[in-house]
Amino acid sequence: MNDRVSAWSRWVFLALPLIIPLIVITVLIAVTNDISLVQRASTAMILMVMVVGLHIFSGNSGVISFGSVAFAMIAAYTSALLTIPVEQKPSLFPDMPGFLSWIVEFSLPVPAGIVVAVLFTGVVAVIVGVPLVRLSGLSAGIATLAFLVVVQVVVTKWKAVTRGESTMVGVPKEATLWWALAGVVLAIAVAALFQVSRNGRRLIATREDDKASMSIGISIPKERLVGWTLSCMVAATGGALYGHYISTFSATTFGFALTFFIVAMLVIGGMGSLTGAVVGVLVVQVLSEFFRTLETQGLGPIPIIDFPGLTEMVLALILLIVLIVRPSGITGGTEVADWFARRKSPESSAS
């Protein structure tokens, strides 16, 4: 990157090449008014919020987290509890424990519910993060996975508050394509800001070499905690949006399947780069929607493939091939911004 550019312009280079095309695509899709296209785009962008959230921590710190879906779940449930219409609450939560009985007595508008849910999730993230950020490598992966299991069990079994195995219903279904777009734009903006910030750069240093970063005064737990909290809050935004988008969900919605799917999209896009997070979601979603179209409508000369499981199999195979052909992800861990920067010769910018 050019040495003259400020952090601000680095942010612009990082975020805008991702944000602008997304806005353009969204507008084009909205104009077609094709409900199924709108649906697919909304789902993809909400997932993208979660993937970008994961990237903020895992991508920059190099520490695996399988826990981000747990935070999405916490936020989805929190926002649901806050926003379900007051009239429905008594019948949905007849056994709400005393100390939470106030929840039954009011309901917030959805945007407020999402904001409160994200803030609350942030608090949980800090509490969980303080011990967990001390772990690295597979230990961190397993510990975050364990946290996911714990949250899942609690959500599944704490029937009075979460409706247990029963699905959460009555959640206002308000999230639209535009909400999803707003979520993604916000997520990318935040992620890019973090990446060019002092904290973000320090976190990247700890990813490269923990000992060396300590030797120049970087506190690994502190930097990780900042990244972790931010990451969980962005994932939480995705989770809350998801909740208000599908409007009925249960703990299994936020399970291992979603977790691995999100991690896979990050890796396929190229771990360590924000561009990778965005590209990974796009590629995987476009592919899987392509196959779903084949399955339900056929495509031009290709007839409907009505063989349950076949398209999933082929999709998994294609993802496998992508990984084999490009083990470091589609972007190889570079940013769009790097492609601009590479044009300039090092000599000219160093002088």
């Binding site: 019948s91 195995e165 029963s166 699905t167 599908i246 409007s247 009925t248």
Partner: protein, 418 residues
């Protein structure tokens, strides 16, 4: 259009709305009597993923019913179309597919057998005033008129009914007075079956001498439960295992391997059929309560129509029905025709109203009906099947006298108690 009648207020307070609806009914009937459009039925159920084993055969049976109806001239003279899109057992995708179905002009949405996976589609249907007919959902929440709304309806009698029926069979027919309940807490389905069994059993004067719980997923480790059962179930007349396959059969096998010979009963129809006889070929002293006794694994169903259905199903799909759930959705298909023809309209509220007022009819396994308060079926003749040496045998028909009073808000409690 006339579909606007069901508003959110109605959803929240179903009891007081009934009077209004009677008034509106006339309006609806008048407005729609002009002619019946062809039905555009969308099945939003899984062909793949974890719930698919429960969805596939019922969806096929439903399609078969509609095919038969079409061959015989259609619904009110119109050919109905059926489209089945795979939800892949994914709730988010389910929402998406349901909305696509609405956009494609569906007038009926058929949802999956499990509440968690059906709810997203049912919610969309409700929001658009389209009937959300479940293939075989047994959970109260799917049909209580409140959780989803009045558009949702199921051909199943519900878990309250099944659990109560099982308790009455155990206590009255078999004279079992001491039960040990080994509860699978994996699903709302398994939990409510257990709860209703216990409720009715103790109401009748039976005693639950012990309880235990397990989670019936793939990593189930039955050892501790079996060890405990060996001790605690010594005096039990019956061990109740409300669970689903494959965990249920793993647990039953472990109990038998441990040398415990006490009768075992599943108070519902999900652990049944070839899923049981295939897995434990020499299973004995096992009882279940399916909706029909399918000839492939069970002899003696009193209704000859069951064999006709099973043969037709085999002829259509190439495999025997491995569970009895297929009969439910088959009956649903037949009842749908009756309802539309009675309503003389294809808008959601009219069809639902017609379902509620259809007279009890024997479509396949005995007379069934729905009512304004209960969107599960009433009057079902639940079968009891006994397995000895790997063979199933029909024992008796049972319709419970009374639904256990364990869940105060259950709108079917009064409707189903005779």
């Amino acid at each position: 259009s006339s579909g606007d009648t069901a508003s959110t207020e109605d959803t929240a307070a179903p009891a007081e709305s009934s009077a209004e609806e009677v008034v509106e009914e006339a309006v609806v009937d008048e407005g729609a009597s002009g002619g019946v459009e062809p039905l555009n039925i969308h099945i939003v159920a899984a062909k793949t993923g974890i719930i698919s084993p429960f969805d596939i055969q019922p969806a096929e049976a439903f399609t078969m019913a509609i095919d038969e109806i079409n061959a015989a001239g259609g619904i009110a003279g119109q050919q109905a179309t059926v489209t089945w899109t795979d939800t892949k057992s994914d709730p988010a995708l389910t929402t998406q597919i349901a909305e696509e179905a609405v956009a494609a002009g569906a007038n009926i949405i058929v949802t999956t057998c499990d509440f968690d996976f059906a709810a997203p589609a049912a919610t969309v249907a409700q929001a658009n005033n389209i009937p959300a007919l479940s293939l075989c959902l047994g959970d109260r929440k799917g049909t209580d008129l409140v959780t989803i709304g009045p558009m949702s309806l199921s051909p199943s009698p519900g878990n309250a009914f099944k659990g109560s029926a099982a308790a009455e069979f155990a206590f009255e027919d078999k004279g079992w007075t001491k039960a040990y309940v080994l509860q699978d807490d994996l699903l709302e389905y398994t939990k409510s079956l257990g709860a209703y069994f216990k409720g009715r059993f103790t109401e009748l004067g039976g005693e639950v001498i012990g309880e235990d719980v397990f989670t019936g997923n793939e990593q189930l480790d039955p050892a501790a439960n079996v060890t405990r059962a060996r001790d605690a179930a010594k005096d039990a007349d019956v061990i109740i295992v409300p669970s689903v396959v494959p965990a249920a059969t793993t647990m039953i096998k472990a109990i038998r391997d441990a040398g415990i010979d006490t009768p075992i009963m599943m108070p519902g129809g999900a652990v049944d059929g070839t899923l049981v006889t295939g897995a434990i070929p020499d299973i004995s002293e096992f009882y279940s309560l399916p909706f029909a006794c399918m000839p492939a694994y069970c002899e003696g169903d009193p209704n000859p129509q069951v064999k006709v259905f099973a043969d037709a199903f085999k002829a259509k799909t190439g495999i025997d029905p491995y569970l009895s759930y297929a009969v439910l959705s088959y009956e649903l298909g037949k009842a749908l025709k009756a309802a539309v023809e009675q309503a003389g309209a294809t808008d959601g509220p009219s069809i639902i109203k017609a379902f509620e007022t259809l007279p009890p009819t024997d479509y396949l396994t005995g007379p069934i009906a729905w009512s304004e308060t209960c969107h599960h079926t009433t009057g079902r003749q639940q079968r009891v099947v006994e397995y000895q040496n790997g063979k199933g045998k029909f024992v008796t028909l049972i319709t419970p006298d009374k639904i256990a009073a364990v869940d105060p808000g259950n709108p079917c409690e009064a409707a189903q108690s005779s």
